[in-house]
Symmetry: C2
Subunit: 232 residues, 2 copies
DNA sequence: TATTTAAAATATGTCCTACATATAAAATTA
DNA sequence: TAATTTTATATGTAGGACATATTTTAAATA
């Protein structure tokens, strides 16, 4: 009858303390480098044991919000947005739905990235890309070995992220690699033949060299067609 | 002379244990719902105190990798990719560089998202968007109040993420909101006049209704021109 | 016997105390 | 004064104790 009775919020003390500390930091405009109250002081003021405070701080340390040195105490650091994600980005840990979301995210990023690439590309970058493509073209294993093709595929696209000049974006993509790898192997298993887009890596480099951001965007979209066509 | 002497890796026990447990879970192919060894057993097998194990598990709990119930013990859950990010996505905590990266990320996402939108858009979605646009057009405050304009801007773009049909993407954007808000206020402070793109929200809705993914992508790129033009 | 009620067992949650360790700061010595 | 040693202090680690919730088991009641 009352199947959706209110679940009393029994958040653990650790979680509460974690939130309180974060609030405390935000409200008081703590800046990178500022030093925090010690663990015992925090524990006393919060009315909990030092253990609880330590677990909370351990979480914040993991996120890069705080750092701590032996005698000096703790101080604020600039948190790393990706440090949390980094630990769990693994096909063995993530669920199917999350994997699908991430794979789609990759497609979105690579199509949308074009503008950044044209703002920040350097000639040396384009040459490096060309070198990758040439190496791929001359590698006899590419014809037979799926793993080899995958490796070149990943190397090429990874370099694009690096070229974006957005460090967060670049690191993010490197974390996604295991997921890409997994998903693309799944794809090549299910699909009988590896459908290839009409735009090759070589075409993309050429566009990057002499084309426009607009053209590159559409070429990339085309290059990724095999993946997009599997969405629903 | 030897200014870059190798810093001996003195990772804390907690961090080591955290890694070991994660490895353990991956290698043994733990699936969602499987139960974990108890804290004391883990502590004994790892040769550390229960405190250390608890701090490590607390981190994993935060990431959603494990859940725990009072007498039942701990079991595997599907980790939430975003739970780590969620806590620190705040202009008061993040550094300038991270904020810039995130802002760029938003631009990349919205341009690249077009394909997903056209695969998953429903008529009701387009109508909802239209409703937002109409409300914006008829709101007299829009002319004078920056905050009001910002609110509509955010409401409109947020709805696009929801339409993408990618829950992770959608949640991600909702976390980015505070950062957007901050960055756009910064923009409107610095720039004397708020440069507007030639493509309006209304145009975007029209394209979504009768256009193609390709057109929408370019219109969105155009709509975001004021932001892109500030990049370097 | 079947059903309800009460007790016991157990794994996590919280608290406490003690000690180890590293290091900044103070005191000592050359 | 400068180099050295000592001391003080905040985090890091350990281990024990009890609280709490919930499953399982046993007991009691109809």
């Amino acid at each position: 009858m009352s199947s959706k009775i209110k679940p009393i919020k029994s958040v653990s003390l650790v979680e509460q303390v974690e939130q309180r500390i974060l609030e405390f930091l935000k409200e008081n405009r703590f800046k990178s480098g500022d030093s925090l109250p010690g663990e015992i002081e925090l524990a006393e003021n919060l009315g909990v044991s030092r253990n609880i405070v330590r677990e909370s701080l351990s979480r914040l340390r993991m996120l890069g919000v705080v750092e701590s040195k032996k005698r000096k105490g703790m101080f604020i650091a600039e948190p790393d947005i990706l440090s949390g994600i980094e630990r769990i980005m693994d096909p063995d840990l993530l669920g199917e739905e999350a994997m699908q979301h991430i794979f789609e995210l990759r497609l979105v990023l690579e199509v949308g990235m074009s503008e950044l690439l044209f703002i920040r590309k350097k000639d040396s970058d384009v040459n490096s890309l060309q070198e990758i493509v040439d190496r791929e073209a001359n590698d006899p294993l590419c014809k037979t070995e799926l793993q080899t093709r995958l490796a070149y595929e990943i190397e090429f696209h990874s370099y694009l992220y690096k070229m974006s000049g957005n460090g967060t974006l670049n690191r993010f993509q490197s974390m996604l690699l295991p997921v890409f790898h997994y998903m693309m192997q799944q794809e090549s298993k299910s699909a009988a033949e590896p459908v290839r887009g009409t735009v090759s890596h070589n075409d993309l480099v050429e566009t990057l060299r002499n084309g426009t951001a607009y053209e590159f965007r559409e070429h990339m979209r085309n290059h990724l067609t095999p993946h997009f066509s599997k969405l629903s």
